[in-house]
């Protein structure tokens, strides 16, 4: 005990000054100065109000606020106050008040990648990724244009330029918005959540069954779309319903220059963002089309397609959880032969609390099954696990590193791969 007492005494005397330093006593002169400044501000404001006519109409004013909300402390005046500050503020206010149409805003996304795998026949190396430009322009209070253009490095040519989205939207109110153009098809979650902005998504790449250039679901859609909220109280229901050209030729493209057949495709998507569970979204989608394959097929080249999909996501980052499932049903119109292909993924991530919350480890499991009897798709089987880490260098740029372990066909060997990406928005 005799040994403990001096230790306790030393701890106490060591800690006490530290507390004292962390919250010094308020200087009275400083308080008076701040109060005087506050009085001057209030006097100035009173003078302004006296010169203006009182606002008409029954409005709730400061007088209606309970006494507990009355001033009790004086906020410090903003730094840099003075004539220059007021002029800058006045200019900012004027800019905010002025509305110009059209008001074009451009934002870009880009990424640079590196990959290396032990798969035979592949080479390791860097990849330019996509350069993506997004355009948003209000044409009036209720009409807006959105566009997305990508520049893609190609092995056989220098670059290709693609119009990914081009949409003009008319808003009636929150319950009905009508748009025309080329979209990312509202099937499931990922396809309309991240578009071509790699920086927005946690992982380096999209899930395989929604990848760009893939055929499992029609990633793009050309036609019209109605969307909006559904009055549903706390259920937070919303919808998208669209009619368009459907799959073109090749089936990965949406028939930009015209439909390949006389049949229109349609899509319906219903999702819920419950008010009580902020961050949760769950939904279901259906897509119906007639596919016409080019060339002569032994059993006919027309197929009916039904896609049904469901998703559930928790978009907060502690943790983040995304899961989607899709079933693609194809029926040969001539023979009535039916095939079903399924794909799903589940992804979980967690924003770590350290290092200013810049680190986010994640894991994704993906599975795609296409039966051997499938008549429209080539084989897309996949079993894949991805473990990775995202590091946000700034608010607008990130580094990502991933290890992937996957195989396509049951007879294929497992492949190990390391993938790295830096992506950004500008």
């Amino acid at each position: 005990m005799r040994r403990r007492l001096p230790v306790l005494a030393m701890m106490f005397f060591a800690i006490s000054p530290a507390w004292a330093q962390s919250s010094p006593p308020v200087d009275q002169a400083e308080q008076i100065r701040v109060l005087l400044e506050r009085v001057q501000q209030l006097e100035k404001r009173v003078a302004e109000l006296e010169t203006k006519p009182a606002a008409a109409g029954a409005v709730v004013t400061a007088a209606n606020i309970p006494a507990a909300a009355k001033p009790e402390m004086v906020p410090a005046p903003p730094p840099g106050s003075g004539h220059q500050h007021e002029t800058a503020e006045r200019q900012a206010a004027t800019e905010q008040l002025e509305v110009h149409y059209p008001s074009l805003q451009i934002r870009g996304f880009g990424d640079v990648d590196f990959s290396a795998t032990d798969q035979k026949g592949t080479t390791s190396g860097f990849n330019e990724g996509q350069l993506d430009l997004h355009l948003a322009s209000a044409l009036s209070r209720k009409v807006t244009y959105f566009g997305e253009i990508t520049f893609n490095a190609q092995p056989t040519s220098v670059y290709t330029v693609d119009v990914e989205r081009s949409i003009i939207r008319y808003d009636y109110n929150d319950f009905f918005k009508l748009s025309f153009g080329r979209y990312h098809t509202p099937i499931g979650y990922w396809n309309t959540a991240f578009h071509h902005g790699a920086w927005l998504q946690t992982t380096i790449a999209r899930p395989d069954f929604v990848k760009f250039g893939g055929t499992f679901i029609p990633v793009h859609f050309l036609g019209f779309l109605a969307e909006g909220n559904i009055p549903s109280g706390g259920a937070g229901l919303s919808y998208n319903v669209g009619v368009g050209n459907g799959r073109g030729s090749p089936i990965s493209r949406p028939g930009d220059a015209g439909d390949i057949n006389d049949n229109r495709a349609w899509v319906a998507n219903l999702y819920s963002r419950p008010a009580r569970l902020y961050g949760l979204q769950m939904g279901v989608s259906v897509y119906r089309d007639k596919i016409t394959l080019l060339g002569t097929q032994p059993n006919g080249n027309n197929f009916r397609e039904w896609i049904s999909a469901a998703h559930i996501v928790w978009t907060k980052e502690t943790p983040e959880f995304l899961a989607e499932f899709a079933n693609v049903n194809h029926r040969n119109i001539l023979t009535n032969f039916v095939t079903n292909s399924q794909a799903f993924y589940a992804q979980v991530g967690y924003r770590l609390p350290w290092l200013e919350r810049t680190l986010k480890p994640y894991y994704r499991f993906e599975h795609t099954h296409v039966p051997l009897s499938e008549q429209v798709f080539t084989n897309q089987n996949l079993v894949q696990s991805i473990v990775g880490m995202r590091y946000d260098i700034t608010n607008y740029a990130a580094f990502k590193g991933e290890y992937r372990y996957f195989k396509r066909l049951p007879t294929d060997p497992w492949v190990n791969g390391a993938f790295f990406q830096t992506d950004f928005t500008f």
Partner: protein, 164 residues
């Protein structure tokens, strides 16, 4: 441990806890004023639930009615009003908030981000001039000519008011 040592230990612990109690500021001292939800006086709304305020701020509700769009005004970083809005309503960090609006526009769900205001004066100027505008104001600085909304049935200063 003899009686003298016990008394010394008790004394030191008493001093230690008393120091802690004196050093830690009281709740009333640290708690800032409530943040009022104020709208342009002509906006046809008087009462919103916290989840409805959240829908407005998230850009999921963009119209007060079919003729009147919502105009979101948010204080610039470092303002206490912004801190409370991000913490209580958005439940996001500054970085997440910025990313949210980049994504929102990228998804074609909104044409513009919230308008940034740098002071109370600027905020009131825009609030009175822009129909459908909504802003978040320290309840000690409320001025005439705008409408203060009840949130979950409470006005700023009332016991269960959620924005503080």
């Amino acid at each position: 441990m003899n009686a003298t040592n016990k008394r010394i230990v008790t004394f030191l612990w008493t001093i230690l806890w008393a120091s802690l109690a004196l050093q830690s500021p009281s709740t009333a001292q640290t708690r800032g004023a409530d943040i009022a939800v104020v709208v342009n006086a002509d906006t046809p709304v008087t009462d919103l639930s916290l989840s409805e305020v959240r829908k407005v701020l998230l850009g999921e509700r963009q119209y007060w009615n079919s003729k009147l769009p919502v105009v979101l005004l948010i204080r610039a970083p470092e303002a206490r009003e912004r801190d409370v809005v991000l913490r209580v309503i958005y439940q996001m960090s500054e970085a997440q908030f910025k990313q949210y609006w980049v994504a929102k526009i990228f998804r074609a769900e909104a044409a513009t981000p919230p308008r940034i205001v740098y002071s109370n004066d600027m905020q009131y100027e825009l609030l009175t001039a822009l129909p459908g505008s909504i802003a978040f104001v320290d309840s000690r600085n409320i001025r005439a000519g705008v409408k203060v909304l009840r949130v979950d049935g409470h006005l700023p200063g009332e016991k269960d008011y959620p924005l503080r």
